[in-house]
Structure formats: structure tokens, C-alpha cells
Amino acid sequence: MNDLALLARAERFLSVLRHCQKLGMRVHAANTDGMTLVLPYSPQIAGDAQTGLVHGGVLTTLMDTTCGMATLCVLPEFELCPTLDLRIDHMHPGEAGKDVYGFAQCYRVSRDVIFTRGYAYQNDPAQPIAQVVGTFMRLGKSIKVGVGAPLATLGGEA
């Protein structure tokens, strides 16, 4: 899949995630190296009304989405990959009022599991505000987003 098709697939995927739409998240870049999303700053995502600093939980949402969508970069066909676990280390408090970028890539793709890692940054990718590792389950190719999705397949938990 070329980068343009990947970008289109990523944008389509993000567009159906209602909470991400509520946060105004967008695809910044998508290629074979990895996925970059952007979370625009807004006062509603602050963890402290006085400082306006973004709450850690919003960064977890950004990075869970970015790591999950990084699987699009390595899988030839779409597979739904729910998060198995995620760890986020907060390096710096970040700056209030600035958009946050999330970058993630897959560093191991096995038959059942995909290992991802990434980071969140504002000004400089070399000075991340948070580092993340996350593991995702592969549910297989039979599950597709969109009309006619086999709901029953997903109803039973893996």
C-alpha cells in the first residue's frame, strides 16, 4: 500500500471514532515509518483549570489511538486490533495552549500480537512530553469497519 492510500485509510478510520472527533484529532502523517496524529489544544482537555495543562488521560487517549492506528502502517489488510495493555511515562508537563502530536510505530508484528511504541510531543519530537509502549491483539481479517460488519464476531470476546 502506498503512503497516499495509507493516509486515506487512516483518515477514514479516525473519522469513525466518535471520541476522537469530539477531541478534534486529525491524521498529521502516515507512512511506512509510523503514524502521526495531532490533538488540537482546547481548554476542555486541561487537567487543571488554573494552569491549563493537558490532562494525562487525554495524552493516553491520543497515544492509545496513535499506537492502535500504527498497526495500519504494517498490516496489508485492515484488522481490528484492540489494546491489550498500554504504559505511558510522563517526561515533561508540556505547555498549555499548544497542540500535541502523537507518533507511534510497530516494532514487532507476530501472528497474534503487535508491539508498538511511541511518544507525544509539542515543539520538538526529540523532546517528548510522554513515552508510550502498547500491545495490541490481532483479531484477524474477517472483521471490517463499515456497513455489514460482522457484529456477532466481535460480540464474543477474544
Binding site: L17, P43, D48, D85
Partner: protein, 151 residues
Amino acid sequence: MNARNLREQLNQAHARGDYAPLLELIPYAGLIGIECARQGDELLFRLPANPDNVGNPILPAIHGGVIAGFMELAALLHVMVFTGTGSIPKIIDFSIDYLRAGHVRDTYARCQLWRQGRRVTNVAITAWQGVEAEPIATARAHFKIEEPTDT
């Protein structure tokens, strides 16, 4: 807000069992809609079902990041109430294991303060929907706290 004001507000909230004034200090708490109630000496957190929190349109299921944010917020409030800190604790790291899909239903969380050091606390969080013994996620977090002052 200075440390004494925050502590007073915390003590009042805990005495009345009304934590809404505390949640108002945290805009993100309002965005996802977390609620907090006192149960005896414990705190029970609730995240009411809300279509805006959905992150999987097929199931549908709550966004894993929202579940994590809810649990981090629960841990933060738990630490604030039970350590008597004079400022909002800072998150150091957060680790979550997803055990079951979070359906679009009310979600609950309870916290356990495993260790309160002088500067750092360790908190475990459990989230469930129908049955508490069947959690949808477990998590743990470290927070940096300012040393409680005896005022």
C-alpha cells in the same frame, strides 16, 4: 488556589460527600463526565454511559483512552482526598491492562493506595461495569505529591 484553600475544599467535599466542586477544578473531568460518591470511608467513581466517549463504532465500545483517563482521574481524586495534599498531584506514569470490552454502559472504578511515600504514591485502580469481580480494566499509577503539611 493556595495549598490551604485546596485542603479546605477537599475536607469539605469529603465531609459532605459532594465532590462536584473538586471536579470543577479539572476541566477534563467534565469532558468525559466522571462522578464521585462516598461509600462509607471509600470513594466510588462512576463514568455514566455517553455516546461521545465511544472509540469503537462496531461493538460499540468506550474508547480505551477514555477508560484510562477515567481511571487516572479516579486515582488522582483518590490520592487528593486520602493524602491531604495541598496541590493537584502530578502523574509520573500510568499502566493499564484491558481485560474486557467496555460497552456503552455506566462504568465504575475503585482505587487502592498501596504506598504513600513522602514524594511519590502508588495507586491501583480497578474498573468494571456489571460485576465488580469481572473488571474491564486494571491499572496502576504513580503520582508525585507535595509533602502534606500539618495545617
